[in-house]
Amino acid sequence: MNMLIRQARVVDPYQQLDAIMDVHIADGNIQAIAAELNIADAQVIEAKGQILCPNFTDLLAYLRQPGNSQKGTIASETRAAASAGFGTLLPSPDTQPASDSTAVLELVQDRAKQAGYCQVLPIGALTQGLKSTHLSNMLGLNKAGAVAFSNAGYDITDNTVLLRCYEYAATYKLKIFVQARDAALSHGHMHDGILATQLGLNGIPVIAETLAISRHLQMMQHTGVSCHFQQLSSAAGVEMLRQAKAQGLAISADVDLAHLCYTEQQVQGYSSQYHVQPPLRHESDRQALIAGLADGTIDAIVSAHQPHEAAAKQAPFADTATGMAIYDIFMPLLLSLAAETDLSLLQLTAALSKQPRTLLGLEANGLTLGAVANLCLIDPNLSWQLTSTAQQSQGANQCLQNNSLTGRVTLTLQHGKATWQAHD
């Protein structure tokens, strides 16, 4: 590959760079980056008006394999991820069987390699079968590629088991990913507010999150394990982590894009596409999540992409599966968030590349001279329709199906290879 991307708006959080540049890529690497370049015989991409930034790293996505290929496959969902600008992703251990054996981890990584769209770094199951009773073979799983450990959406209610998990992980300096939610208080189906009252749905109160955060923080302090909190949903939760960070605790946190863009109001009319866990909350919670991202309390934005077959969402609200297939609308939503808030593109791309990579200790993927070309090119003004042919994810749970959308990734490079190119 010998490619010259001309006059793109280069946004690189590694260098705090936001400027119009030409970028020359050859042999998989960035050969030159300057205000203006003239390279003979390079394939020229005129990128005026487009954004060029490091490709993204997703700390939470559900690839559904093994066990649920009716919802999505590793190939289909990593392709969808590449089309949203992702180059690296961490699939949830919530597969069937759970990612608690080297066999499953190998299968996931092999399938991802065969598909060739994204680097896939699995999250290992913290307990065997995610059943919250026996520790998984963390050391072995770590050797087999697990970069972190999590019990997915399943709360470990037995404090003895949780303490042992954390002590063991701390022994080997393994990273823990936590989805902080109290199991008993999370039995509802939407945010516990006036709309839940009106719709007659069981509410999930904010304390379902804050009680769990406080418990995990204490376990973490007691054991010295390193924790990353996933999918924060509430203002009170953000504030707890802000204080914990101020006290110097080695923690990090992420939020999923849907919680930055949507509130409980989306559930109006029993719209099951917005049935998610943790639930979409009040507008004041959404604003606090945005503020948390702006002031660094929240380090990363994740997709929490969860594809489903159509039938999983076709039932009375409480009987429908939770989760949203979001990769196909990720970029339009991200750009609308940038337009609506004070969050700059530098901040947003940092939360999608530099920050998640730093907290995992992954190599940098900025646009520096000689670096491997891990990039994505975004046309923020491109209008397109999310038709079934345009859709990349296998997930039928598309909340903006057939809508007109603005903004699209036009090119994703992973190790200098095009893993996605928009054709129009």
Partner: protein
């Protein structure tokens, strides 16, 4: 028309009723029309020949995913008095227990070319879901979904008030008991506030009051004596005994001490206050027998009004549905 999303699904483009799913968002004029129509049907119930031909040739399916003999019989009677053919399906004992999904059950029923489904289901939003799936061919009447809505029950309570009290805007109304789990209470609140009632009170312990209830435009009370002061209408709700097992309440006797409607407590209300209850009543848990059977109680009148309300709603929804069908056929 600029309607809240909760109402859009229920009305035709010209504002006629085509499904009856919830009171939430329905305009006052429509509620008043339901009451007037039902009022005229109360008379039909007193005639020698009780039938009117409004639904002749139409098929009404009572689709009960949850047992309720009482509600089902009043719907059945209402449909028969409107001259419809009625089919009763108790689904909880047939298809869905064999693992068939609700959607598949509906697809099968749709093939029977029925005109109206009366739906009772344990999940909130089930009637909405069914209306979205079977529309535009079948009118859906919600006979209770989860803890969300039970609009015909709420409207029969409104008819009771309408026939026994002055206009709604002068009234103080207390709703007492398990508000949290009550599908009727939500629709009663929507109906009362829409019809102009300025003072609606929800009375119960915090475990049985829903989150942010005040945002519905009501006042909440924990103290029954205080809440009943000077009210014109008392609506008691049924207390399910399961609530004791799931830690909402300590015991039936303690509940009765705090929230049971006794003669002494009734004396806090206006002397001509009326007492209502959707039934079946738990004597000695929600209400003292002397009050339930006393002269201020309208509990038995409510049953008769229930048939009239259901006749009104079924005939109005069917006519809206027919209108919609004609519009659609004309546009094809």
């Amino acid at each position: 028309m600029n309607l809240p999303p909760s109402a859009q699904l229920q009305l035709t483009e010209t504002g006629e009723l085509r499904h009856f799913l919830s009171i939430d968002g329905l305009p006052k004029t429509l509620l008043e029309r339901i009451l007037d129509t039902a009022n005229s049907f109360v008379v039909v119930g007193n005639q020698e020949v009780k039938k009117v031909p409004l639904l002749r040739g139409k098929t009404v399916v009572n689709l009960f995913f949850e047992n309720s003999t009482r509600t089902r019989s009043t719907f059945e009677l209402a449909a028969q008095r409107l001259s419809a053919d009625v089919l009763n399906l108790d689904i909880n004992t047939s298809a869905t227990s064999k693992g068939e999904s609700l959607l598949d059950t509906l697809r099968n029923l749709r093939a029977m070319h029925s005109d109206m489904f009366v739906v009772r289901h344990s999940q909130s939003g089930a009637a909405h879901f069914i209306a979205q799936q079977v529309t535009p061919n079948v009118a859906i009447i919600n006979a209770g979904d989860g803890r969300h809505a039970h609009p015909t029950q709420a409207m029969l309570d409104m008819l009771t008030i309408y026939r026994h009290k002055a206009s709604f805007d002068q009234l103080k109304v207390a709703i007492v008991g398990d508000i949290l789990h009550s599908r009727v209470a939500r629709d009663q609140v929507h109906a009362l506030t829409t019809l102009g009632c300025q003072d609606v009170r929800l009375i119960g312990p915090n475990t049985l009051l829903p989150t942010a209830a005040e945002d519905l435009g009501v006042t909440t009370y924990n103290d029954l004596d205080k809440g009943l002061e000077d009210v014109d209408v008392i609506i008691m709700l049924r207390l399910q005994t399961e609530r004791m097992d799931s830690a909402f309440l300590p015991s039936a006797s303690e509940y009765y001490q705090a929230y049971g409607l006794t003669r002494q407590r009734l004396s806090k209300a206006k002397p001509d206050a009326i007492v209502m209850h959707p039934g079946p009543i738990n004597r000695g848990i929600e209400i003292e027998s002397e009050v339930a059977d006393g002269k201020q109680s309208l509990i038995l009148n409510q049953v008769g009004y229930g048939i009239a309300i259901r006749m009104a709603v079924m005939s109005m929804a069917m006519s809206g549905q027919m209108q919609q069908r004609q519009v659609m056929e004309a546009s094809q």
